[in-house]
């Protein structure tokens, strides 16, 4: 039963987490050129989508929770906001992962954008409840757009590990 070999958590969970943290720190640099700042995408959406597509896992939700807590503490937002928002997206993708298997790259991109929109909507609602105020929809849209453009990284991660454990094909 060679297809049942488990994935090495350090490779499919640990390394992407490390890259997400590094990219987040890098894009938090206070650089302003000609009045424009760097975008602030949610890099953690890449593993949130890819991990759910690759296979169900016990460790992945906790890895996402850790990533979300890091985002909240590093960005100075409400603790738990991004952990919960990422987990909402992860759970939704996990629930429909059978429909995603074998989809073409553009269709997967659409699904990824849907997951991003779901996560941002969850963040929007949680922030409304937490702060009793409505966040700017324009700002939410720009962050959604920047995050949706990260799909190639998610696709690369899926390609790399999708066939590693055939039990979940």
């Amino acid at each position: 039963m060679t297809g049942a070999r488990p994935l090495n958590p350090g490779r499919w969970l640990g390394v992407p987490m490390l890259f997400v943290i590094l990219a987040t720190i890098l894009f938090a640099a206070p650089i302003r050129m000609w009045g424009l700042q760097l975008p602030e995408p949610i890099f953690a959406m890449v593993p949130a989508f890819a991990w759910a597509v690759i296979r169900p896992s016990i460790l992945a939700p906790f890895a996402l929770l850790l990533l979300g807590l890091f985002l909240d503490t590093f960005w100075g937002g409400p603790t738990g906001l991004w952990g919960l928002s990422l987990l909402v997206a992860y759970a939704s993708v996990l629930a429909v992962r059978n429909m995603l298997t074998g989809q073409s790259r553009p269709m997967l991109w659409v699904w990824y954008a849907g997951a991003c929109a779901l996560s941002m909507t969850a963040g929007f609602l949680f922030t409304m409840m937490d702060s009793l105020a409505m966040p700017s929809l324009v700002a939410v849209f720009w962050q959604f757009l920047a995050t949706a453009l990260l799909f190639p990284f998610a696709h690369r991660l899926i390609d790399r590990f999708e066939d590693a454990d055939v039990r979940f094909r």
Binding site: P61, P78, L81, A133
Partner: protein, 373 residues
């Protein structure tokens, strides 16, 4: 007996279900974190040890990452200054010419203002000490707008300190760690700042929403605001000092009044943290903590306006004229009691100073019925 040989040895929990349970547990933990969060409070203890540690660690890391960008900006500025020195010189000369007129007007107004202050006896606030800091990281998302500055506890920064750059108010400190402090920007959705319209003194609350232009809420008064009005801090509530420049009013596409922040017209690389905690800081604490309390002022029982009028004692026969005829020009206490015989000094009947009101020189017309006839 090994576990696998026992009755539960063949029990296999489906991974999918286990993963679902793990997911639910993670969600519950995240909800608990979110409910326990108190980010918007001004309490030092609300900024937990974890956040302090992350800030302390992030400061050098982000500082190193931000350094190339800073150097690049300096280099670009140098190149731009070199190539555009001529046109900039002409622009600056024009600006200087305009500024000279403003300077003369400014000096005249300062002089006039000083005279008004002295006439009114107005007490102005003392200057507030400041700490300069460099921003090493910032978040610009819709749900969190904060900056990480490289000055912390060791420089006297505390939670609640207002933060400015060279143009205007940036935000306030919401977390302090050794060597770093977290600044909540005016644009953050949790930010609420009491402001006023400089032209009309109308009060409002500046409310962030994650976008670049925070909203003006709870505007009061009729016609309180016009486009272009200057918005400054009102000082209400004592969170920030009064009069710090914030921005200019504009009407948003959604019909709400918003503010274009002055601070946005300059880079927020370097900031100034005002070591202002509350208005008690501006008062003379030594004077407030006086050890000697003022005397307790009580009513003189002999002169109670509630009791029955006492029969008038015989007038003094020492040759001194009765005080009553001079009542309109003498203090009341001297007319309510006759002079002590043999002394001829009405003042000797005065009660101890500690039990008399400070206004003991009230004219006698206040108690004419008690005046001996």
């Amino acid at each position: 007996m090994p576990f696998r040989e026992g009755p539960l040895g063949d029990l296999k929990v489906p991974l999918t279900w286990t993963a679902a349970v793990a997911l639910i547990v993670a969600v519950v933990i995240a909800v608990a974190f979110l409910l326990a969060d108190r980010r918007e409070t001004l309490q030092q203890q609300a900024y937990g040890v974890t956040r302090q540690t992350v800030d302390t660690v992030s400061k050098p890391v982000s500082g190193v990452i931000a350094a190339p960008g800073r150097w690049t900006g300096v280099g670009v500025d140098a190149v731009r200054n070199y190539f555009f020195a001529g046109s900039e010189n002409a622009r600056l000369k024009t600006e200087l010419k305009e500024m000279r007129a403003y300077r003369d007007r400014y000096l005249a107004l300062v002089d006039e203002n000083e005279r008004y202050k002295s006439l009114l006896g107005l007490k102005t606030d003392p200057p507030i000490p400041m700490v300069a800091a460099r921003v090493v990281a910032d978040s610009r998302g819709p749900f969190a707008n904060t900056r990480l500055a490289d000055a912390g506890k060791e420089k006297g920064v505390v939670v609640g300190n207002p933060v400015m750059n060279e143009r205007g108010l940036v935000g306030r400190v919401v977390g302090v760690a050794p060597g770093a402090s977290r600044v909540l920007l005016l644009t953050d959705i949790a930010s609420r700042t009491p402001v006023m319209i400089d032209r009309t003194n109308s009060r409002a609350i500046l409310t962030g929403d994650g976008g670049p232009n925070p909203k003006l809420e709870y505007l009061r008064g009729s016609e309180p605001i016009q486009a272009g009005d200057r918005v400054v801090t009102s000082g209400d509530g004592g969170v920030v000092p009064r009069g710090l420049p914030v921005g200019a009013a504009v009407k948003g596409l959604d019909g709400r009044w918003r503010v274009v922040l002055f601070a946005d017209s300059a880079s927020i690389d370097y900031i100034r943290i005002l070591l202002f905690k509350d208005f008690a800081q501006l008062a003379d604490q030594q004077a407030l903590a006086a050890k000697v309390l003022p005397p307790v002022i009580t009513e003189n029982p002999d002169q109670s306006i509630l009791g029955p009028a006492r029969p008038a004692p015989p007038p003094a026969t020492t040759g001194a004229a009765p005080a009553a005829p001079r009542a309109p020009t003498t203090p009341a206490p001297t007319t309510t009691r006759p002079a002590t015989p043999g002394t001829g000094a009405p003042a000797t009947t005065r009660p101890p100073a500690a039990t008399r009101p400070a206004t003991s020189t009230t004219p006698a017309t206040t108690a004419p019925a008690r005046t001996p006839q």
